[in-house]
């Protein structure tokens, strides 16, 4: 009898088809990486053949290129143009509607949670450890505490997550600096299944193990075989090797203290001269969560709707108060974003808002690099090195202790 909950198993590369099929059989909408428009994007996948077999990416600040790999690896690519928040925290969500009848009475209807159930539950296939952390971080913001967004919470709770460890980090990756990868943390309860892709003399296969009862149940339906100790050590080795190949790193300082002590730095002027204030960094960031409110009325005036849509601290309207925007300059807006992401996020939510996925570096058209900006601020302000990497440890601790982002 398989002890599916504890053991590691091996899924051959043709077993991916069974995985996709079984997830779909459970009524789930499977979302995974696929090639479209010169990039590896997230989209609905109904056949494992749609996964990016043999595709990789070349990343640099402000540059992304899809490239053919010499092998048939499926998950050997790093963060693409979207994150999973596109599904868990959609860019446009209706919150309520109001209708006036002939007698002039208004009826207000919140978005019914039963309607949320009518939407198929997701299965996320190929969540990298940095993104797994990001889902947990955003989950603690949106899904935890007294102001929890119940619609968000339900989407997250109903999602089945297949995490895939990272074996081929990009030139813009720095998850090791943020303590969020490239390995899936076995103490993390944020995934249902975790896989490690292997392609060596032993063939193309995935080491697979369950992280939840639902994952264990699914494993019983997959064509898996017991993992040999050598396979397990090979998997550990490729992930440990990936940790040594991060393209970027954060300066080894207390980033929270650095941000608090940098408010008057000259570096903000320098970065503001380069920043387009276009908002791309916040849109691609897997933890940025800000939204604005959109009230819609129709021509009759008898029907109104309230919608929530993604907003960004780079939008002038974001800090618009009577008399004008609080953060009118590009300098103040970039500073707001960076100091919140790396600094005040700790004060608000007890951890860092950055998971080291590198998307903000890649998808910034002018290639502003968060690690380079942090390093420049550390140099300018003389922030001492912190060899113990306190913020990474703190981040992990909070991720484990606070249940907000767990499912």
């Amino acid at each position: 009898m398989k002890d599916v909950r504890r053991d590691a198993w091996v899924l051959r590369d043709d077993g991916l088809a069974a995985l996709v099929r079984e997830l779909a059989r459970d009524g789930r909408q499977v979302i995974g990486p696929t090639v479209r428009d010169g990039a590896i994007v997230l989209a609905e996948v109904d056949d494992a053949a749609q996964l990016p077999h043999g595709w990789g990416v070349e990343l640099a600040a402000g540059r992304y290129r899809l490239v053919r790999r010499e092998d048939a690896m499926v998950f050997a690519h790093s963060a693409g143009p979207q994150s999973w928040k596109a599904y868990l925290h959609p860019q446009h969500v209706r919150r309520w509607t109001a209708d006036r009848n002939a007698g002039g009475e208004w009826t207000v209807r919140g978005e019914d949670e039963r309607e949320a159930d009518a939407v198929p539950a997701y299965a996320f296939l190929g969540v990298r450890p940095c993104d797994l952390r990001a889902i947990a971080v955003q989950g603690r913001v949106l899904g935890g505490g007294p102001g929890a967004d119940t619609a968000y919470r339900r989407r997250l709770d109903r999602t089945f997550i297949v995490a895939v460890e990272c074996t081929d980090p990009g030139a813009t990756c720095f998850c090791t600096s943020m303590g969020s990868g490239p390995a899936v943390d076995v103490h993390d309860r944020g995934y249902d299944l975790a896989m490690t892709e292997l392609l060596d003399e032993g063939g193309h296969r995935f080491l697979i193990r369950a992280g939840s009862d639902a994952g264990a149940e699914l494993l019983t339906r997959l064509p898996v075989e017991g993992a040999a100790p050598l396979t397990e050590s090979a998997a550990r080795h490729v992930v440990a090797d990936a940790a040594e190949r991060m393209g970027r790193s954060m300066p080894p300082v207390d980033l929270h203290a650095l941000m608090a002590g940098s408010m008057a730095a000259e570096r903000w002027d320098d970065v503001a001269s380069r920043c387009l204030t276009c908002g791309n960094c916040t849109m691609v960031c897997p933890t940025c969560f800000c939204t604005t409110t959109e009230d819609v009325t129709d021509l009759t005036g008898d029907h109104a709707e309230r919608w929530q849509r993604w907003d960004s601290c780079f939008d002038l309207d974001f800090s618009q108060l009577h008399g004008g925007p609080v953060r009118a300059s590009g300098r103040s807006r970039y500073r707001q974003w960076l100091t919140h992401k790396l600094g005040t996020w700790h004060d608000q939510f007890g951890e860092s808002g950055c998971v080291g996925c590198g998307r903000c570096i890649v998808w910034c058209p002018v290639g502003i690099d968060i690690t380079e900006e942090a390093a420049a601020l550390a140099e300018e302000t003389g922030q001492p090195e912190n060899r113990g990497s306190v913020q990474a440890a703190e981040s992990v601790r909070h991720a484990r202790q606070e249940g907000g982002g767990r499912r």
Partner: protein, 264 residues
């Protein structure tokens, strides 16, 4: 609808100055909503749709086109005086339009080149937006304007609320609709990062760069974008043309301003 309700319907007028009519056509293009709109408002002046013309005052006047003649310069004051709310629609009315290219050249020379009998043509040396002549309550951008945004503006003015027309960059719209960035992933020059949203990011969705038909966004950083446009293959004449199309004066003012300005 009872006669009394019909009598109290708000009045709408549409006026055209120097323009191609495309923005007015957007109103006719509203189709289903147009019938509903026609029931809600009294369309009192809209030559594109009807030759029956009613006099002011109008609750809402939509003005298309720029000021290029002495006659229109006079007429826009009349329109303003007859309108409770004046909303300008499209790149011509909000930025001078493509005809504002004359602002960078000698209009007499253009006239002599184009027309067999230039003395018949009475025109001003510049093409200017309506806001350069009279106060404007709202400017709706685009060449042409977006149908959904036009309905939003009309609806908002009719019920007395602020229209929800974001003035951030086109990048917001690309990311919201899931378009892969054409600059970052393909090396295609794109004006999206400095251009006012509103079109729904149509061009990048078809793999081409934004050409700025909505004019500058609320906080464009043109000097930061220009090196990218050059890197991605725009030579100087192409770059000049990219910035001198439908919103030439708006981008020119921006370029001049950003030359002096340092970020604060």
């Amino acid at each position: 609808m009872p006669a009394a309700a019909r009598a109290t319907r708000p009045t709408l007028a549409v006026f055209k100055l120097a323009s191609c009519d495309g923005c007015q056509l957007t109103l006719l293009d509203c189709e289903d909503e147009l019938l509903e709109l026609a029931g809600r408002v009294e369309i009192r002046h809209f030559l594109e749709a009807s030759s029956a013309v009613g006099s002011g005052p109008y609750d809402l006047a939509l003005v298309e086109g720029s000021i290029t003649t002495a006659e229109d310069r006079r007429r826009v004051h009349e329109i303003r005086a007859a309108a409770r709310h004046l909303v300008t629609i499209g790149a011509c009315a909000t930025a001078g339009g493509i005809q504002a290219l004359r602002n960078f050249a000698d209009v007499a020379e253009y006239r002599a080149t184009v027309y067999a009998r230039p003395e018949y043509i009475a025109t001003l040396a510049t093409s200017t937006p309506v806001s350069a002549h009279v106060p404007v309550d709202f400017e709706l951008r685009g060449c042409p304007i977006d149908r959904g945004q036009l309905l939003e503006v009309i609806t908002a003015f009719l019920v007395g609320r602020k229209p929800d027309i974001p003035d951030h960059s086109v990048c917001f719209a690309c990311k919201r609709r899931g378009t892969v960035c054409v600059t970052v992933a393909h090396g295609t020059p794109c004006l999206g990062p400095v251009t006012h949203a509103g079109c729904g990011a149509i061009c990048p969705a078809y793999g081409r760069g934004c050409y700025g038909c909505f004019g500058p966004s609320a906080s464009p950083n043109l000097p930061a974008l220009i090196p990218l446009l050059r890197r991605d293959g725009m030579d100087e004449p192409t770059l000049g043309r990219a910035l001198r199309t439908y919103n030439a004066t708006a981008f020119a003012e921006l370029a001049a301003r950003s030359g002096e300005e340092r970020p604060s």
